[in-house]
Symmetry: C2
């Protein structure tokens, strides 16, 4: 297997994406499992020498999820010296059946620029990268140990997402285009990690004048049918 | 003049600091003026190969301001391809009287990690770096044109500072240890770019239970003397 070539990419610089989805009442993120080692990591990548940073991150996401247009936000760049663990990267590369030169660029010290993405779980088609056996959804509340400082990166992403939730009204990006008020509340509860009062949540959301109301969602029990909403364009 | 050596620093990676101070009712930042060219830029620097990112930024600030312990926050990493302007950097280096090899590392594409700092204007001792004639305070409201995307970096820093102002209660870092309520209000007004109502500002600040009240500031007109406050530890 040919490894990525150093002449194509900016050395020392990676990005890692914390991709949030929402399913069955749970907030989840995407993790890759590396060949043979079983190690888990965030989906990430490198920036091409003639590529904008944000385009590189979008390209990485598109390759893993099939989606071209997702809500994406940069939140922090990680650059401590203890991220430098060449033996870990070497094991990953060797487990992929690659020949790894001593001075190979991927074994050097890397800074990682963290992005979080919010997308509709249902729309995703998952594809592993060349170093991975699989890519799958994991519940944020029950994450396993990840390589390097990736657990810390997830926590920082989650903290930023919580801080931005009200100000940027971004929770809806985790839902299909049309949703019920209960579904929207469940997304907010999953992100904030706490239960919200139904009446005050509903009153607040309606007072912001950001939702458009559509027909009811008929389920058979029509006397209980909730309205469907979408975000105003 | 010897230029920084590529073997000491991580290539392609810089940091830029937006250093906020408050003086005479105005919010200001520090800018460096490069030799001969007259070009203005944010104070910044590079990360040593064996140095944590945040320590590099602190080192840079300490060299320019003399301060070791300042409020510092990372806000964004800038990585568009249009930042790559080797002729600009070459002019700056040549104007410093340096010999600049064609493949010199500082002429390559750079990503810049933006930090903002909040400090007490009165405590600063300004020192230019080897490429600069001067370093000085400039009013944020009346900034001149800066090199590269540095005007954009300042705007993004200011936006983040505004968004963080209430949540993190950081405005006080721009004041001396003891200050009057009017001085605190003036800082908030300068950051937000708008006038605040005195009574509601005061009520809100006192209700947060973060301020400690000290003796009055005696100015001669003792019947009008305002109280001094400090932030609770």
């Amino acid at each position: 297997m040919p490894l990525p070539d150093s002449s194509q990419y900016i050395p020392h610089l990676a990005f890692d994406s914390v991709v949030f989805g929402f399913s069955k009442g749970k907030l989840k993120i995407l993790l890759m499992e590396y060949h043979a080692t079983g190690w888990l990591a965030l989906p990430g990548g490198f920036v091409k020498r003639d590529e904008d940073l944000e385009n590189a991150v979008k390209r990485g996401l598109q390759e893993r999820t099939g989606l071209e247009d997702v809500y994406l936000e940069q939140f922090h760049t990680f650059g401590t010296i203890d991220r430098f663990q060449p033996e870990v990267m070497k094991s990953i590369l060797l487990a992929s059946g690659a020949e790894v030169p001593e001075d190979y660029w991927m074994l050097d010290r890397f800074f990682s620029i963290g992005y979080y993405a919010l997308l509709d779980h249902e729309k995703v088609t998952l594809t592993p990268d060349i170093l991975s056996d699989s890519i799958a959804w994991y519940e944020v509340d029950q994450l396993p140990d990840l390589i390097f400082d990736h657990n810390k990166i997830v926590q920082k992403a989650l903290q930023t997402l919580r801080e931005n939730l009200d100000r940027k009204l971004i929770g809806g990006n985790l839902l299909p285009e049309r949703f019920t008020m209960n579904e929207l509340q469940a997304v907010y509860e999953a992100i904030l990690g706490e239960k919200l009062r139904r009446t005050s949540f509903q009153r607040k959301m309606l007072s912001l004048d950001i939702l458009e109301r559509h027909e009811k969602l008929f389920t058979g029990k029509s006397h209980k049918a909730p309205y469907l909403y979408s975000f105003k364009p």
